[in-house]
Protein backbone atom coordinates (compact mmCIF):
# COMPACT_ATOMS: atom_id res chain seq x y z
CA UNK A 1 0.00 0.00 0.00
CA UNK A 2 2.84 2.39 0.90
CA UNK A 3 4.62 1.60 -2.37
CA UNK A 4 1.44 2.26 -4.38
CA UNK A 5 1.00 5.56 -2.55
CA UNK A 6 4.61 6.46 -3.39
CA UNK A 7 4.05 5.78 -7.08
CA UNK A 8 0.79 7.72 -7.00
CA UNK A 9 2.61 10.69 -5.44
CA UNK A 10 5.38 10.45 -8.06
CA UNK A 11 2.82 10.42 -10.89
CA UNK A 12 1.02 13.34 -9.24
CA UNK A 13 4.26 15.35 -9.01
CA UNK A 14 5.07 14.64 -12.67
CA UNK A 15 1.52 15.72 -13.56
CA UNK A 16 2.00 18.84 -11.44
CA UNK A 17 5.21 19.74 -13.28
CA UNK A 18 3.53 19.20 -16.66
CA UNK A 19 0.59 21.38 -15.60
CA UNK A 20 2.78 24.07 -14.00
CA UNK A 21 5.33 24.35 -16.80
CA UNK A 22 3.51 23.02 -19.86
CA UNK A 23 -0.18 23.85 -19.52
CA UNK A 24 -0.40 26.97 -17.32
CA UNK A 25 0.35 30.14 -19.31
CA UNK A 26 3.11 32.66 -18.58
CA UNK A 27 1.74 35.19 -16.11
CA UNK A 28 1.47 38.67 -17.67
CA UNK A 29 2.87 40.85 -14.85
CA UNK A 30 5.44 38.61 -13.17
CA UNK A 31 6.54 36.48 -16.11
CA UNK A 32 7.66 32.89 -15.65
CA UNK A 33 8.88 33.43 -12.08
CA UNK A 34 5.21 33.19 -11.04
CA UNK A 35 5.51 29.42 -11.69
CA UNK A 36 7.06 29.20 -8.20
CA UNK A 37 3.45 29.53 -7.02
CA UNK A 38 2.80 25.89 -8.05
CA UNK A 39 5.35 24.88 -5.42
CA UNK A 40 4.91 27.58 -2.78
CA UNK A 41 1.11 27.44 -2.36
CA UNK A 42 0.65 23.60 -2.35
CA UNK A 43 3.47 23.11 0.18
CA UNK A 44 1.93 25.81 2.40
CA UNK A 45 -1.44 24.03 2.21
CA UNK A 46 0.22 20.71 3.09
CA UNK A 47 1.98 22.35 6.06
CA UNK A 48 -1.42 23.57 7.37
CA UNK A 49 -2.83 20.07 6.88
CA UNK A 50 0.15 18.44 8.62
CA UNK A 51 -0.10 20.67 11.69
CA UNK A 52 -3.88 20.20 11.77
CA UNK A 53 -3.26 16.45 11.93
CA UNK A 54 -0.69 17.00 14.72
CA UNK A 55 -3.34 18.96 16.63
CA UNK A 56 -6.04 16.27 16.35
CA UNK A 57 -3.62 13.38 16.91
CA UNK A 58 -2.24 15.14 20.02
CA UNK A 59 -5.76 15.55 21.43
CA UNK A 60 -6.35 11.89 20.56
CA UNK A 61 -3.20 10.86 22.39
CA UNK A 62 -4.03 12.81 25.56
CA UNK A 63 -7.56 11.39 25.45
CA UNK A 64 -6.75 7.73 24.79
CA UNK A 65 -2.96 7.37 25.44
CA UNK A 66 -2.84 5.47 22.16
CA UNK A 67 0.66 4.92 20.74
CA UNK A 68 -0.80 5.07 17.22
CA UNK A 69 -2.03 8.64 17.81
CA UNK A 70 1.39 9.64 19.15
CA UNK A 71 3.16 8.10 16.16
CA UNK A 72 0.80 9.91 13.77
CA UNK A 73 1.42 13.25 15.51
CA UNK A 74 5.19 12.77 15.38
CA UNK A 75 5.24 11.67 11.72
CA UNK A 76 2.95 14.53 10.69
CA UNK A 77 5.03 17.11 12.60
CA UNK A 78 8.18 15.93 10.83
CA UNK A 79 6.55 16.18 7.41
CA UNK A 80 5.02 19.54 8.35
CA UNK A 81 8.43 20.98 9.24
CA UNK A 82 9.85 19.75 5.92
CA UNK A 83 6.99 21.28 3.92
CA UNK A 84 7.08 24.55 5.90
CA UNK A 85 10.81 24.80 5.19
CA UNK A 86 10.13 24.34 1.47
CA UNK A 87 7.30 26.93 1.58
CA UNK A 88 9.44 29.55 3.29
CA UNK A 89 12.45 28.94 1.02
CA UNK A 90 10.39 28.99 -2.18
CA UNK A 91 8.59 32.13 -0.98
CA UNK A 92 11.87 33.83 -0.21
CA UNK A 93 13.27 32.97 -3.65
CA UNK A 94 10.04 34.25 -5.26
CA UNK A 95 10.21 37.41 -3.14
CA UNK A 96 13.60 38.54 -4.43
CA UNK A 97 12.61 39.26 -8.07
CA UNK A 98 9.05 40.40 -7.26
CA UNK A 99 9.44 42.36 -3.99
CA UNK A 100 13.13 43.14 -4.33
CA UNK A 101 14.08 41.38 -1.09
CA UNK A 102 14.71 37.81 0.11
CA UNK A 103 13.04 38.48 3.45
CA UNK A 104 11.02 41.12 5.27
CA UNK A 105 9.51 41.04 8.77
CA UNK A 106 6.03 41.10 7.33
CA UNK A 107 3.17 39.57 9.39
CA UNK A 108 2.68 36.54 7.10
CA UNK A 109 6.39 35.76 6.81
CA UNK A 110 7.06 36.28 10.51
CA UNK A 111 4.11 34.14 11.67
CA UNK A 112 5.15 31.39 9.22
CA UNK A 113 8.73 31.53 10.54
CA UNK A 114 7.39 31.28 14.12
CA UNK A 115 5.29 28.26 13.09
CA UNK A 116 8.40 26.61 11.60
CA UNK A 117 10.45 27.24 14.76
CA UNK A 118 7.64 26.03 17.07
CA UNK A 119 7.34 22.68 15.29
CA UNK A 120 11.11 22.38 15.10
CA UNK A 121 10.96 22.84 18.89
CA UNK A 122 8.31 20.11 19.02
CA UNK A 123 10.71 17.69 17.30
CA UNK A 124 13.62 18.75 19.53
CA UNK A 125 11.47 18.24 22.63
CA UNK A 126 10.74 14.69 21.48
CA UNK A 127 14.44 14.13 21.00
CA UNK A 128 15.64 15.39 24.37
CA UNK A 129 13.15 13.57 26.64
CA UNK A 130 14.30 9.99 27.06
CA UNK A 131 11.22 8.53 28.73
CA UNK A 132 8.82 7.74 25.78
CA UNK A 133 5.54 8.25 27.65
CA UNK A 134 6.69 11.61 29.03
CA UNK A 135 7.99 12.71 25.60
CA UNK A 136 4.63 11.79 24.02
CA UNK A 137 2.65 13.66 26.73
CA UNK A 138 4.73 16.87 26.67
CA UNK A 139 4.88 17.00 22.88
CA UNK A 140 1.11 16.41 22.65
CA UNK A 141 0.58 19.53 24.78
CA UNK A 142 3.01 21.48 22.58
CA UNK A 143 1.32 20.08 19.45
CA UNK A 144 -1.99 21.53 20.63
CA UNK A 145 -0.57 24.91 21.68
CA UNK A 146 1.53 25.34 18.51
CA UNK A 147 -1.55 24.75 16.33
CA UNK A 148 -2.88 28.12 17.50
CA UNK A 149 -0.33 29.73 15.18
CA UNK A 150 -1.76 28.03 12.07
CA UNK A 151 -4.89 30.25 11.77
CA UNK A 152 -2.69 33.21 12.73
CA UNK A 153 -0.49 32.49 9.70
CA UNK A 154 -3.48 32.14 7.37
CA UNK A 155 -5.40 35.21 8.55
CA UNK A 156 -2.34 37.43 9.13
CA UNK A 157 -2.83 38.93 5.66
CA UNK A 158 -6.29 40.17 6.72
CA UNK A 159 -5.48 41.19 10.28
CA UNK A 160 -2.35 43.22 9.55
CA UNK A 161 -1.07 45.33 6.65
CA UNK A 162 1.29 43.00 4.83
CA UNK A 163 3.38 42.85 1.70
CA UNK A 164 2.17 39.30 1.12
CA UNK A 165 -0.93 39.03 -1.06
CA UNK A 166 -4.18 37.67 0.47
CA UNK A 167 -5.31 34.12 -0.42
CA UNK A 168 -6.79 33.69 -3.91
CA UNK A 169 -8.29 30.21 -3.46
CA UNK A 170 -8.65 29.48 0.29
CA UNK A 171 -11.09 32.33 0.92
CA UNK A 172 -14.86 32.81 0.87
CA UNK A 173 -16.39 33.81 -2.48
CA UNK A 174 -15.55 33.02 -6.11
CA UNK A 175 -11.98 32.26 -7.20
CA UNK A 176 -10.67 35.01 -9.47
CA UNK A 177 -8.02 33.07 -11.41
CA UNK A 178 -7.68 31.89 -15.05
CA UNK A 179 -8.87 28.25 -15.34
CA UNK A 180 -5.51 26.90 -16.61
CA UNK A 181 -3.62 28.46 -13.68
CA UNK A 182 -6.23 27.23 -11.19
CA UNK A 183 -6.11 23.71 -12.67
CA UNK A 184 -2.30 23.62 -12.44
CA UNK A 185 -2.48 24.80 -8.85
CA UNK A 186 -5.08 22.19 -7.88
CA UNK A 187 -3.15 19.33 -9.53
CA UNK A 188 -0.08 20.36 -7.53
CA UNK A 189 -2.12 20.59 -4.32
CA UNK A 190 -3.30 17.00 -4.87
CA UNK A 191 0.24 15.84 -5.76
CA UNK A 192 1.86 17.37 -2.66
CA UNK A 193 -0.97 16.08 -0.46
CA UNK A 194 -0.26 12.57 -1.81
CA UNK A 195 3.46 13.05 -1.13
CA UNK A 196 2.68 14.19 2.43
CA UNK A 197 0.43 11.14 2.96
CA UNK A 198 3.18 8.85 1.64
CA UNK A 199 5.76 10.42 3.98
CA UNK A 200 3.46 10.10 7.00
CA UNK A 201 2.47 6.47 6.28
CA UNK A 202 6.13 5.51 5.76
CA UNK A 203 7.27 7.35 8.91
CA UNK A 204 4.48 5.85 11.03
CA UNK A 205 5.61 2.40 9.82
CA UNK A 206 9.24 3.06 10.75
CA UNK A 207 8.22 4.38 14.18
CA UNK A 208 6.18 1.21 14.78
CA UNK A 209 9.12 -0.94 13.69
CA UNK A 210 11.48 1.05 15.91
CA UNK A 211 9.18 0.35 18.83
CA UNK A 212 9.12 -3.39 18.01
CA UNK A 213 12.91 -3.61 17.64
CA UNK A 214 13.57 -1.76 20.90
CA UNK A 215 10.88 -3.66 22.87
Amino acid sequence: MTRALGWLATLGLIGGLVMGFGVAPREVTQGNVQRIMYLHVPTAWVAYLAFGIVFFASIGYLWTRSDAADRLARASAEAGVIFTGVTITAGSIWGKPTWGTWWTWDARLTSAAIMFVMYLGYLLLRGIIEEPEQAARYSAVLGIVAALDVPLVHFSVYWWRTLHQPPTVMKPGPVNMPPAILAALLVNVVAFTLLYTYFVVKRVNTLRREHEVLA
Binding site: I36, I82, V86, I93, E212, V213
Partner: protein
Protein backbone atom coordinates in the same frame (compact mmCIF):
# COMPACT_ATOMS: atom_id res chain seq x y z
CA UNK B 1 9.14 41.84 -16.20
CA UNK B 2 12.09 39.53 -16.87
CA UNK B 3 11.37 35.81 -16.59
CA UNK B 4 13.98 35.13 -13.90
CA UNK B 5 14.23 31.44 -14.73
CA UNK B 6 17.23 31.11 -12.40
CA UNK B 7 14.93 31.82 -9.43
CA UNK B 8 12.43 29.22 -10.65
CA UNK B 9 15.23 26.65 -11.03
CA UNK B 10 16.59 27.47 -7.57
CA UNK B 11 13.18 27.11 -5.88
CA UNK B 12 12.33 23.79 -7.56
CA UNK B 13 15.90 22.48 -7.22
CA UNK B 14 16.04 23.18 -3.49
CA UNK B 15 12.58 21.67 -2.96
CA UNK B 16 13.64 18.52 -4.86
CA UNK B 17 16.80 18.26 -2.75
CA UNK B 18 14.93 18.65 0.57
CA UNK B 19 12.00 16.36 -0.28
CA UNK B 20 14.27 13.81 -1.95
CA UNK B 21 16.64 13.90 1.03
CA UNK B 22 13.81 13.21 3.45
CA UNK B 23 12.52 10.37 1.27
CA UNK B 24 16.03 8.81 1.17
CA UNK B 25 16.27 9.11 4.96
CA UNK B 26 12.95 7.27 5.36
CA UNK B 27 13.98 4.49 2.93
CA UNK B 28 17.34 3.99 4.69
CA UNK B 29 15.70 3.92 8.11
CA UNK B 30 13.13 1.42 6.84
CA UNK B 31 15.87 -0.89 5.49
CA UNK B 32 17.91 -0.60 8.69
CA UNK B 33 14.90 -1.49 10.84
CA UNK B 34 13.89 -4.38 8.57
CA UNK B 35 17.42 -5.82 8.89
CA UNK B 36 17.31 -5.38 12.67
CA UNK B 37 13.97 -7.21 12.80
CA UNK B 38 15.38 -10.13 10.77
CA UNK B 39 18.46 -10.33 13.05
CA UNK B 40 16.18 -10.32 16.08
CA UNK B 41 14.00 -13.11 14.66
CA UNK B 42 17.03 -15.25 13.80
CA UNK B 43 18.61 -14.98 17.25
CA UNK B 44 18.72 -18.34 19.06
CA UNK B 45 16.03 -18.67 21.74
CA UNK B 46 18.55 -19.15 24.59
CA UNK B 47 20.23 -15.84 23.76
CA UNK B 48 16.91 -13.97 23.79
CA UNK B 49 16.54 -14.79 27.47
Amino acid sequence: MADNWQFVAAAYGLAAAVLGGYWRRLVRLDRKLAAAQVRRRNRPADKIQ
